[in-house]
């Protein structure tokens, strides 16, 4: 059993309406000194595969095919037991 986590974040330069809205809302709530907020996705996968290299490559494949839109997003994969 392996657990893989994937962080999908917007590429630099891609507009992030959600991040901007969060920053604005935080400022309205009285928080100051916020230089920037970016929002991404965090995906946890429970996999039957135990070989971590195979997991890594399968998850990369999942990211390329579905989990990330590489026109606007990048991803980062971590595999643990």
């Amino acid at each position: 059993m392996a657990k893989a986590t994937v962080h999908v974040t917007l590429k630099n330069g891609v507009l992030d309406p959600q991040g901007k809205a969060i920053q604005h809302a935080l400022e309205t709530l009285g928080f100051s000194g916020i230089n920037g907020v970016r929002q991404g996705k965090y995906i946890e996968l429970d996999l039957a595969e135990t070989d971590s290299e195979k997991t890594q490559s399968a998850v990369t494949d999942m990211c390329e095919k579905l989990l990330a839109n590489t026109v606007i997003e990048t991803y980062r994969i971590e595999v643990s037991e």
Binding site: G13, V14, P17, A21, K65, N69, V71
Partner: protein
Amino acid sequence: MKSAVIVFPGSNCDRDIAVTLEKVTGQAPAMVWHRDSTLPEGLGLIAVPGGFSYGDYLRSGAMAANSPIIADVKKKAEAGVLTLGICNGFQVLTECGLLPGALIRNRDLKFVCRDVNLSVERTDTAFTGKYTGGQVIRIPVAHHDGNYFADNETLDRLESNGHVAFRYCNDNGKVADEANPNGSARNIAGVFNETRTVLGLMPHPERLADERLGGQDGVPMFESLLEQLS
């Protein structure tokens, strides 16, 4: 005109586009289930409808773009069969690479359903031939993720090659920020592919193609297609 409407789990404007296609072209489209692997032969038009395919979960259009039928949609579209993606259909076409850019969350994060004005950017295409140059049309939008994004290089290329189909504008045709319902880059509401045989747009031309519903500005798009194909 023989046409097909692709139906994904969660499509919900499939009937709306079918009604309009039948009304304008006189022929009911084939409804094609996403799990089929091939489209019917002899199609003039493939329509990818609006809705929430797969609930818009993960990213709008992402899961639908991986449906079995999409391989054949791509093949036929690349071979020149006219392909129209409306709203969620536009999102699907960008996700599967038939159109450039991406549709991200609306600028103010809210779903927006209302009529908007569009300027028709060019009338020498299969989709827009029945509009007049510089015409301003009124068409509804209804979406959460309609904010068109592409990098500047892509946007410049789209503009210089005349691949922008529609822009959000004021009553008088002025392309202005206050007329932009979702924050789309350069007010872009719809784009063509390189050969102008694939069109994706966020507004719903099929929703104002019936006087009972308050307008007919969507009709010329379908009449253009009909003329082109008959």
